[in-house]
Amino acid sequence: MERNKVTLLFILLALIASVFVGIFTIVSQPNSHSRSQKQKFSKDGLVGVVVIKIEGEIHSGKSTYSSTGADTVLSKLREIESKPEIKGILLEINSPGGTVGASQEIFEELMYLRKDKKIVVSMKDLAASGGYYIAAAADYIYAQHGTITGSIGVITMSPNLSGLLEKANIKMNVYKAGKYKDILSMFREHTKEEVLIIDSLLDDTYKRFIKDIVRGRNISKEKVEFAAEGKIFSGENAIKHHLVDAIGGRREAQKKLSELLEYDGLIPIYEDEETPFDRIIQMLGAKFSMVATSLPMHTEIYKAPVLLLMPSSLRF
């Protein structure tokens, strides 16, 4: 009997010790038992490539759950730049485009990073306009057969409510210093001079867009101009027009990155881990997406009159 009690005491002490070991393991070694490659990309010392997702409309500021903010992407890219063990970037794009400045900022940062790291793009449903602008900075572009891409063009829209106001007998008083201060006013017809200014603005942005694609894709200006003018393409057609390199998804992109980096086998992919807390927030975000999560994106896109966006995705 005494022997059994000693055994029990020993088991009790072992159980108490196991509690401490368990707590210590959970608290001090997060991710230590993860076999998944969904680890935080900031984990030091691991050679690999990082997944960055460009989803929804592209705009300045922080990303929301349904759109991509340039600030969020740029901070990730700068973090990658400071980590030599991260050899490449796998960009997953599912975006109809967005604002000019945000798209150009991300494009330029990627072009800078391309000197040291390899970038491969995997297009999802949509990688059009500003989404394609960003993709053009990659070393290699994959798309699915059904991906919609292209839409190389610039757009600005302004409703003309003058007829409606006239009907309702409402007059708008505008006080301005500067002839063109209310250039995109929705309360009157635009003058020829104003249309010329807007055209010139769009033309400059369009030319820059073409130039950057030529620079990023390393193809002739003629080829890009032929595929431009706002035309949209399926994945297969985009290959014919040299906008995309091959058909494929993440698996093919991983293989290509391994090949470009001369890595023996398949190079590990790291992406931001989604915590249960993130999932709860995401669920709540999806519930109130029209109000809460889309608000920053709408605000940013409203601010920018000129857009690199597929017109069909405008949801104001």
Binding site: L8, L12, L15, S18, I26, Q29, S32, S36
Partner: protein
């Protein structure tokens, strides 16, 4: 208290037939509570440990899980012993609910092996929800066996009889809330739709 705890645990896990005779001598609420605490800590940490990867949310989750498990391991043995007593006393007409409750509270301590087993499972690569339920099923079966040995000694009935009685009681405890939930749901729906 230490000797009470060890004596009671010894009786429950090594010599359940002697438990009714020593109940009055060794009864101690605080040692019962200690077993409940150890069990709930072990299960709450183990359930997180078996589900890697861990993050800051896992650390935060330990405390609410501990509270919930503590609530469960305190209430469940009491409910189970009420039902067992109700079912088994028909045989000999003697109520032994206090003994049974105390015995069940100690025997639920078998669940404190959850964490060490989850260590082993994780080491050999068995992780996730399925492993969690495998461990739970294994330990719960042990709990049923231990409790049926004890109740057969307390109520002086056959082990098979007490085992089926405990299994039935467990089914009642686990499924009654679900039945009630559907009862309320359908009743409310019936009222609303009308």
């Amino acid at each position: 208290m230490k000797s009470f705890l060890l004596n009671n645990l010894y009786l429950v896990f090594f010599n359940p037939t002697e438990f009714p005779y020593f109940y009055e001598e060794y009864k101690s609420r605080s040692s019962e509570f200690l077993v409940s605490i150890l069990t709930s800590i072990s299960v709450s940490i183990g359930s997180i440990y078996i589900n890697p990867p861990y993050n800051s949310f896992s650390e935060i989750l330990i405390f609410p899980l501990f509270i919930l498990h503590l609530f469960f391991v305190t209430i469940f043995p009491a409910l189970l012993s009420y039902l067992i007593d109700y079912k088994l006393r028909e045989e000999n007409l003697s109520g032994e609910i206090l003994k049974m409750k105390s015995y069940t509270r100690y025997s639920v301590g078998i669940m404190s092996f959850f964490l060490p087993i989850s260590f082993i499972f994780t080491m050999i690569g068995l992780k996730g929800t399925l492993s969690f339920f495998i461990i739970l099923f294994f330990l719960f079966t042990l709990f049923l066996i231990i409790t049926s040995l004890g109740s057969s000694a307390i109520y002086k009935v056959k082990v098979s009889k007490s085992f089926s009685c405990i299994a039935n009681s467990c089914i009642t405890i686990f499924f009654l809330p679900i039945f009630l939930f559907f009862f309320y749901l359908t009743t409310l729906l019936g009222i609303i739709i009308k």
